[in-house]
């Protein structure tokens, strides 16, 4: 195996340009599971851990190399809440938001916030420079993204005027150290509610019909909340797998969305 530890972004992009098939390594919390359990043996690995440009957080951008441990302390409330639920302290010390985006697991805990915030994924290559991709065009299937082979994920954008009222919750079999069965983010701003869910479709999903319904209401009554839960349950696209069933996920998605809308109003 050939191993390269890039020291800056230019070096990483140059390696990717010459060897687009090389495996990117950030925190290792996904890749090493493949190595240990599936005996994945990459021919070439490019480590991004030392690339300082990827470790910056500003009000407008979150560097791809920022760990969950740091995001737990961030001012983006919904994302900080999600970060607290990722794996364990050990996982959060290593895993990064860029890794979450790159792996693109339906259960990625950072992804519903990205969808709710309408954040964009910043990618870069040596030949074509920077490309800013709307999250909807970036996540194209289960663990599939539109990242080109010579590109590196560099950041997630934080849109301007993001509402301060942000809530995240997920359901799993226990509180600590759990992969989500359903996850949900609700943002409440002047333009109304935005509702995104994870683990209920191949990619993160916005509950657009539920958003339209609730945002047309002037008062959020119990019957509106009931209708919201019903629509969310209807518009998610979950499957039955080893973690849960389709019907439970539909039910849980509606309950979570309703609960987070209520929480965001407190």
């Amino acid at each position: 195996m050939e191993f390269i530890a890039a020291h800056d972004l230019d070096e990483a992009l140059a390696v990717k340009a010459q060897q687009p098939d090389c495996q990117l390594l950030a925190g290792g919390t996904d890749l090493m599971v493949e190595v240990n359990l599936a005996h994945h043996r990459p021919d070439r690995v490019l480590s991004l851990r030392r690339v300082e440009e990827l470790a910056d957080v500003t009000t407008a951008r979150i560097g791809a190399g920022v760990t969950w441990a740091r995001l737990e302390q961030s001012s983006f409330r919904g994302l900080a809440q999600a970060a607290r639920t990722v794996g364990s302290p050990q996982i959060r010390a290593a895993g990064t938001i860029g890794g979450n985006v790159g792996t693109a697991s339906p259960a990625g805990d950072g992804l519903p916030w990205i969808a709710a915030a309408d954040a964009e994924i910043v990618v870069q290559s040596m030949d074509r420079g920077e490309r800013i991709v709307p999250w909807k065009e970036f996540f194209i299937g289960v663990k599939r993204t539109s990242l080109a082979p010579d590109e590196v994920i560099t950041a997630v954008t934080v849109p301007k005027d993001l509402p301060a009222a942000q809530e995240f919750a997920k359901i799993g079999t226990r509180n600590a150290m759990v992969i989500s069965t359903v996850s949900c983010v609700v943002l409440r701003g002047d333009d109304g509610f935005r509702i995104a869910l994870g683990s209920v479709a191949p990619t993160p999903l916005r509950a657009t019909r539920a958003e339209e319904m609730i945002n047309a209401e002037s008062t959020i009554t119990d019957s509106v909340l009931e209708e919201l839960a019903r629509i969310v349950s209807d518009e998610v696209q979950p499957i039955t797998d080893h973690r849960s069933t389709e019907s439970y996920r539909r039910h849980a998605a509606g309950v979570l969305a309703r609960r987070l809308v209520e929480r965001s109003l407190r």
Binding site: F3, H40, P42, P89, Q90, A93, A94
Partner: protein, 153 residues
Amino acid sequence: MKITIVVNGEKRVADVSGPDSLLSVLRNNLDLPGTKDACEQGECGSCTVKMDGATVCSCLVMAVDADGSSVTTVEGLSHGDNLHPVQSAMLAEGAVQCGFCTPGIVVAGASLLESNPHPTELEIKEALSGNICRCTGYGAILRAFEAVTGEDT
């Protein structure tokens, strides 16, 4: 590929093949079997070490990527019979049954006390939330930590 890491204050060189984990290098190349190998997917915490100040699962660190880093394993926390306070407290409380999770719990707990010498019960539980013990039910482990953190360290 040759890597150099400082393990428990001592410079060590290991010849690493492929994408092997830091855990495997510690146990198999550097003769430090205190760090335990169980789930190999970051779920159990038995392989917990400190690396450059962060508490991590050594099974999820690609060893070649640890080149140049500084690692503390459970072996580095005691000096002969002079045990780390967490180890002494776990002995006194009988917080060990099969013992397989113990090194990871000692390292995670020692890291917590370094940054937060007087944690609350919730902070202790959170710090140990990545370390699974299937024998003790955690009661004795928590009592051991409460005994340590009640003292001035």
